[in-house]
Symmetry: C2
Subunit: 195 residues, 2 copies
Amino acid sequence: MRFPITTLRLPEWVGGFLPTPKMPYPTVEDRMEIVVGLARENVERGTGGPFGAAIFDLETTRLVAPGVNLVVTSGLSVAHAEVLAISTAQNVLERFDLGGEGMPRLELVTSAEPCAMCSGAALWSGVRGLACGARDEDARAVGFDEGPKAPHWDRYFEERGINVVRDVLRDEATAVLNQYVERGGEIYNARRGGS
Amino acid sequence: MRFPITTLRLPEWVGGFLPTPKMPYPTVEDRMEIVVGLARENVERGTGGPFGAAIFDLETTRLVAPGVNLVVTSGLSVAHAEVLAISTAQNVLERFDLGGEGMPRLELVTSAEPCAMCSGAALWSGVRGLACGARDEDARAVGFDEGPKAPHWDRYFEERGINVVRDVLRDEATAVLNQYVERGGEIYNARRGGS
């Protein structure tokens, strides 16, 4: 038996959308602004859901790897923005543990608080920081499902040495969620509780 | 800026290890047996961690797509067995919602209870059933981290119409975890709580 290879490929426009690799993003708001920009562009280009993410090196403050949501266009339910950003960063840096020895502090910036799956993915990635734009309730308000997250999930991150910052440009990030719904974008959750 | 494409590629041996595609697996123990076999073979071949998974069609009882843990060999922290099985099944069936209209009931069988990330991945996949071998505590006992799972996570699955069966060939599945550790296999979790 032979089985297909799974590929996660960022849309062509992403490379052109981002400024030079040397661009610094000194503040968390700077970093969130480009990430919300990725989410917005993903909606406007019709390449996926209203979510963006990226991994940043907190020493150089440069962007290491971007991600956008590609569930519908890739046909893969794991293709959330965080999974794209984490996996692309691991390819760029050639290691599965982004917090391993000799690594700079890396931060995952995401335009909405990570769902149950992506919370786990963030923990396993080895990042040292997590910055979030829209809240879970903002995503839920437009119909997205965040899943069964542990209560006080952010404390769990802190206990593992992962610094969590919430509500960074929350209004701007939430505006992209609303923009997606207004454009008739698909709320692509798997059926919910249906039998 | 250009970024690498992420690929999730099952090891070469997987195709030869599985019997003909027409092979039926009528009972959940039959299905778990081949999944634990995938986990064991993955350890013995040195291609990844001691975890296997597969998606089965509960109408034909045939295997749709297999998965094995490839974190260390792929360099990707998301490359858990369940992510491989789900993504491969979505490629085979050409749809991201495995529970969408017109689909047969599909079951995810996994050699150990899914971690926080894979619990979310299972929910988003659209499968209608989840069968688990080893328990979270069996995986934790050898050093693996299951992450911040919601209390009573299985009830949450049931509420969404996903039938959960636990402890299927638990001893056999746990034996593979122990085999991995005895062989000196890497416990590849990201650093835990280190600052």
